[in-house]
C-alpha cells in the first residue's frame, strides 16, 4: 500500500530545496563580476534577472516551507532529484535571455548538459557569446561536477544529519573523511587546487600559442572546468580544434584523466600513499579498458586507412578515446567526421569506452570502473567454483583503498546499476531510431548523453525533434544521479496521486 506523503514531508523538501536555490542564485554573482570586467552590460542584466528570479523562488520556498526537522532518506533523495531539475530551469534563464538559444527548451538542454557534465551543445553562434554567458556554461559544469548539493553542503549548510542522505542522492556513496561536510570540503579543496594549477598551465600554454593573456587565462579557466569535471564544453565552436596545438591536447588529456579518478584516490595521493594508484581495482580497471578499447578504435582506423601516419592515428584515436572513456567529450575531429570518416569498428570502441566511464566518486558518469571490477571478480569467482573441488571454500578479494572481500550485496548492486545504465542507453537509442536516425548514430549519441560524455556524431543539433531533446535531458539527469533519487521522485509523485 502506498502512503500519501504528509504535509511535513512537502515542507521539509521545499525548505531545503529553497536553500539550494538561494545557493545557486549566489553563484550567479560570478558571471556578473565577469560581465563587469569585460564591459558586457546586457549579459550582466541577464544574470541579475536570473539571480533575482532564483532568489525570489528560493526565499519564498524557505519562508512558506520553514522547517527545523532533519531530512528523511526519502526527502533527501527527492530534494536532490528536484534540485537538479530546478537548477536546470533557473540556470537556463540567463542562457535564453542571451538570444543564443532558439528556444527555452534548448537553453534547458544546455543547462542540464552543463550541470550533468555531459557537454552536448545546442548553442547557436557560440563564437560571439559573451564572456559572462560562456563562463556560466562552464561554471555550471564545475558546480554539477562536484554536485549541486555538495555546493550547498559545503558553503550554506552548517551541518545536519540529513546531509549524508543528499550526498548519497547525488551518486556519491563513498565518504573520504568520516564527516560528510568535511568530505565535501575536501572535494572542493582538491578541485580549487587543480583549478589554480590547471588554469595556470592552460593559460601559459595559450599565451605560447599566440593568444592574448586575458583570453588565454579565460579559456584556461573554462577549459579546466570542462576537463577536470569531465564536461566537454569549450568557449569556441571548434572545441579543442580551435587551438591547433599538441601541447593543449596533452594538458587537457591529463586534466581529463585526473577528473576521472576517484576523489578517494586523490586523497591517498595527497597523504603520500601513491602505491594505491597501482593497486586499486578502479585504476587497474581503467588502464585495462583504455588499452582494450584503444585496440578496437585503432584496429578500425588502421583497417579503414582513415589516417595515413601512425602518429596521427594515435593522436586522433587516443584523444577521442580518453575523452570518451573519462566522460569528457572534448573533440579534435568534427562531429560529422565521426560518421563520414571513422569506421564502425572504431565507433563501437568509443561507444564501449563511453559506456564504461571512470571511477566512482569522481566527476564522470556511466557504469564506472568499481562496478565493472566487481562484476569481473564475481565472474572469476563463479568460474573458480566450477573448476575447483566442491568442498573448496572460496573467498574472492579486491583492493579498493583497502583489501575487501567480495560480498553478494556488492555484486547485486553493481549488476543492478549496470543493467539500469544499459536500459538507459537502449532507451535513447530506440528514441533516436524512432525519429529516423540510423542505429549506430542513435546508439552513439544516446550513450554519450546517458553516460554524460558529450561526444557527438551530429544528431544533437538545433533542428532535432523536441521529444528527442527531452529524452536526452532525461538521460543526462538520470545518468548523472545514478537512478535512485530519480526513482524516489517518481515514487513520491505516484504516492501523491494514488497514496492513502
Amino acid at each position: 500500500m502506498l502512503l500519501r506523503p504528509s504535509f511535513q514531508d512537502i515542507r521539509n523538501i521545499g525548505y531545503y530545496l529553497g536553500k539550494i536555490i538561494v545557493g545557486l542564485a549566489l553563484t550567479m554573482l560570478i558571471p556578473i563580476l565577469v560581465g563587469f570586467l569585460w564591459h558586457e552590460p546586457e549579459p550582466v542584466i541577464d544574470f541579475f534577472i536570473a539571480a533575482e528570479v532564483s532568489l525570489v523562488v528560493g526565499l519564498l520556498l524557505m519562508k512558506f516551507c520553514y522547517s527545523q526537522k532533519d531530512l528523511s532518506w526519502m526527502q533527501g533523495m527527492i530534494v536532490v532529484a528536484l534540485s537538479w531539475l530546478v537548477a536546470m530551469v533557473l540556470g537556463a534563464i540567463p542562457l535564453y535571455l542571451s538570444g543564443h538559444w532558439h528556444s527555452f527548451l534548448d537553453a534547458c538542454f544546455e543547462a542540464m548538459s552543463g550541470l550533468a557534465t555531459t557537454g552536448l551543445v545546442l548553442v547557436q553562434d557560440l563564437d560571439h557569446l559573451s564572456h559572462s554567458h560562456n563562463l556560466w556554461r562552464h561554471l555550471i559544469m564545475f558546480i554539477g561536477g562536484q554536485g549541486i548539493v555538495i555546493v550547498a553542503l559545503s558553503f550554506f549548510v552548517k551541518g545536519f544529519s540529513g546531509a549524508f542522505k543528499m550526498y548519497v542522492g547525488e551518486a556519491r556513496d563513498e565518504k573520504i573523511l568520516p564527516n560528510v561536510i568535511h568530505t565535501s570540503r575536501f572535494i572542493w579543496l582538491v578541485s580549487f587546487t587543480y583549478l589554480a594549477l590547471g588554469t595556470i598551465s592552460l593559460g601559459i600554454t595559450g599565451i605560447a600559442l599566440g593568444m592574448p593573456w586575458q583570453e588565454s587565462f579565460f579559456h584556461g579557466a573554462c577549459n579546466f572546468m570542462a576537463a577536470f569535471d569531465t564536461g566537454g564544453f569549450t568557449p569556441q565552436s571548434q572545441n579543442i580544434l580551435y587551438y591547433h596545438s599538441l601541447s593543449y591536447e596533452v594538458v587537457t588529456m591529463v586534466l581529463m584523466i585526473l577528473g576521472a579518478i576517484n576523489f578517494k584516490m586523490h586523497y591517498q595521493a595527497w597523504i603520500g600513499n601513491r602505491k594505491e594508484v597501482f593497486r586499486d581495482i578502479e585504476m587497474l580497471g581503467f588502464f585495462t579498458t583504455v588499452i582494450i578499447t584503444f585496440f578496437i578504435v585503432g584496429a578500425g582506423l588502421v583497417q579503414n586507412s582513415t589516417y595515413q601516419q601512425g602518429i596521427i592515428l594515435f593522436r586522433k584515436g587516443f584523444y577521442q578515446l580518453i575523452s570518451g572513456h573519462t566522460g569528457t567529450g572534448f573533440q579534435t575531429v568534427y562531429p560529422s567526421q565521426f560518421i563520414a570518416e571513422w569506421p564502425h569498428l572504431s565507433l563501437v570502441g568509443i561507444i564501449i569506452a563511453m559506456a564504461l566511464g571512470g571511477a566512482v566518486c569522481s566527476t564522470t558518469g556511466a557504469i564506472k570502473m568499481l562496478r565493472i571490477g566487481i562484476i569481473y571478480k564475481a565472474l572469476m569467482e563463479d568460474i573458480k567454483k566450477i573448476i575447483l573441488p566442491e568442498k573448496a571454500i572460496l573467498a574472492q578479494r579486491f583492493h579498493h583503498i583497502k583489501t575487501l572481500f567480495l560480498e553478494q550485496p556488492q555484486v547485486r548492486a553493481a549488476f543492478l546499476i549496470t543493467i539500469l545504465y544499459l536500459a538507459l542507453y537502449a532507451l535513447g537509442t530506440l528514441a533516436g531510431m524512432w525519429f529516423g536516425y540510423p542505429f549506430l548514430n542513435s546508439l552513439f549519441e544516446s550513450t554519450s548523453a546517458a553516460a554524460n560524455v558529450g561526444l557527438s556524431c551530429g544528431i544533437t543539433e538545433v533542428n532535432m525533434p523536441a521529444a528527442l531533446k527531452i529524452t536526452y535531458i532525461f538521460q543526462m539527469w538520470a545518468g548523472r544521479l545514478e537512478f535512485m533519487s530519480v526513482f524516489t521522485l517518481f515514487g513520491f509523485f505516484l504516492a501523491l496521486l494514488k497514496g492513502k
Partner: protein, 162 residues
C-alpha cells in the same frame, strides 16, 4: 585533323567545366566536411568571418574562419595575418575574409587536423561593433523583480522579529 582536335578539346572542356567551376566558386564548410575526401589536397576558395583570436606563432600563425556553418582553422604566413584587424567575438563582427588555399582532410603537418593552408588571404569587409543598447523589456523585468525581492526580504525580516 584540326576538326578532331577541336572536338576533343570541346569534349575535354565539357568534362572539366564542372570541376573548374567548382574550384573557382567559394566552397562552404558544410561541403568541405561532407566531401572532405573529394576536396582533400585541392586548392579551394573559402569565405567567412575571422573569429576568436589571431594566433601568430613566429613566421606563421592560425586564424579560425566561420562561414556561418562551421569554423575551420586556416594556417597562413604571418604577413597575411597582419592585415586582419578584427576577429569576431561578443560585441564585434570580425573581418570577412576570402581564403585561397589548399584544403587538408587530415593535415600531416598539423597532427591530422582538418585545415586550410592559405596561399592568399583577402579582406572583403572590415569587422564592426555590434554592441546594442539594453532592451526595455529586460530593464522593466529587472525593476519589477527587484521590487518583489525587496518586499520578500522585508516580510522575512519582519516575521523573524515577531
Amino acid at each position: 585533323m584540326s576538326a578532331i582536335l577541336k572536338r576533343i578539346a570541346f569534349l575535354f572542356l565539357i568534362v572539366l567545366l564542372p570541376v573548374i567551376a567548382r574550384a573557382e566558386q567559394p566552397v562552404t564548410s558544410v561541403e568541405l566536411l561532407k566531401d572532405a575526401s573529394f576536396y582533400n589536397a585541392k586548392k579551394i576558395i573559402f569565405e567567412g568571418e575571422v573569429v576568436g583570436d589571431i594566433m601568430i606563432r613566429g613566421k606563421s600563425g592560425w586564424i579560425n574562419v566561420n562561414d556561418g556553418g562551421n569554423a575551420i582553422g586556416v594556417f597562413a604566413a604571418a604577413n597575411f595575418l597582419k592585415d586582419i584587424d578584427q576577429a569576431g567575438r561578443y560585441g564585434k563582427t570580425g573581418d570577412l575574409v576570402q581564403i585561397f588555399g589548399v584544403f587538408n582532410r587530415s593535415c600531416t603537418e598539423h597532427g591530422g587536423d582538418l585545415d586550410i593552408h592559405a596561399l592568399n588571404i583577402q579582406r572583403i569587409k572590415e569587422g564592426n561593433s555590434t554592441i546594442r543598447s539594453i532592451p526595455t523589456f529586460k530593464q522593466i523585468i529587472l525593476v519589477l523583480l527587484s521590487v518583489i525581492l525587496i518586499i520578500i526580504l522585508w516580510i522575512s525580516k519582519d516575521s523573524r522579529k515577531h
